[in-house]
Amino acid sequence: MSESWSRLEVLLLVLALCFPVGAGTSHFYNEMQTRVAGTQVVKNVRAIAASTNAYHDATDRWFPVSAKGHARLRVFPNPFDEHTTEYQSLDKALFARENNHGMVLQLVSYDENKDGWLNDHGFNSRFQSDDPYLRILLDYGSEHQRERAILRQLQQELNNGVLAKLDDHLFVLDLRGLDDE
């Protein structure tokens, strides 16, 4: 019996080596995609924080008056609102699902009656009326590996203590003090 490798053995070996190489390449590609996605979300959050802080510096308030005219804006952007309210220098595209890999970002004005629970989450300072926070609605949930990786990146790249988990699909990010660095 010949001791050399048969063509079949060589073929099987090549196929067996192709499997982990292909799977590894695919895994690496997914990791890179997640990294890019996380970087984009962090960039969007920083841009939102920079705009809201600039608005606050210029007007001494965090939110514009609602298009309805009788109240401050509660949620921005809010597709449920029949009246479109503009937030000067804040690009709505920064909040869109398609620009945040399925996540919905919404700027919310703190309301003591509705959001009192927020101050129990150990943010760096207590929320006062009309302070802004960013509501993050996840598409899949924090148990999903990509969304969890994006949230982890948010937590690492922004200041510690700015992110609170309320539900697998609902997170709150403290925008105060964050700026576009």
Binding site: A16, F19, L137
Partner: protein, 168 residues
């Protein structure tokens, strides 16, 4: 004739011929190929070890990749329904903002569209979902914040469990 050939063979310097053949590019490849074919590269059990190790490694990487696309939900039914309805209502409203019309149906790629019933009556849409004995509904024009408000109440109740817990 035979004696001529004998004489020619005796005159050939075989040692020199072998040395010269090594330098000849035309002779190099066939010679190496033949040698490789006869040479044992690795013992046979080694093939099996490499083969199994490769399959195992590939399977582990693939399983890890599958996990990234797997949908996992550990929410309670009531929480799940509220957030699911909010998500879909948000999608419907966004669609309406962009096109001016309500969608005819919930697109399958919209997350949780399979769990929620959607119907349009008198130009208004209604969403309803039920799971785990809970039923939740949302109709166009209602305050969508209430869908999340319930989540917050539950979040408070379960706060002791999750307080201080960072994303793993």
């Amino acid at each position: 004739m035979m004696s001529d050939k004998k004489e020619m063979l005796q005159n050939i310097d075989f040692d020199n011929l072998i040395l010269e053949s090594e330098k000849d590019p035309d002779l190099e490849y066939p010679a190496q190929g033949e040698m490789l074919a006869k040479r044992r590269i690795a013992p046979k059990p080694m093939i099996l070890v490499i083969w199994l190790a490769s399959l195992l490694l590939g399977a582990l990487i693939t399983m890890d990749s599958i996990h990234t696309t797997e949908r996992v939900g550990s929410r309670g039914a009531e929480v799940q329904l509220g957030v699911a309805l909010y998500h879909l209502a948000h999608r419907v409203e966004t669609y309406k903002d962009r096109t001016g019309n309500l969608p005819d149906y919930l697109e399958p790629q919209w997350q949780e569209s399979g769990e929620v019933e959607y119907r349009v009556t008198n130009g208004r849409y209604h969403l309803s979902a039920n799971a785990g004995g809970f039923v939740r509904e949302y109709s166009q024009g209602e305050d969508p914040e209430l869908l999340l408000f319930e989540v917050r109440q539950l979040g408070q109740q379960e706060q002791e469990k999750v307080k201080g817990k960072e994303i793993e």
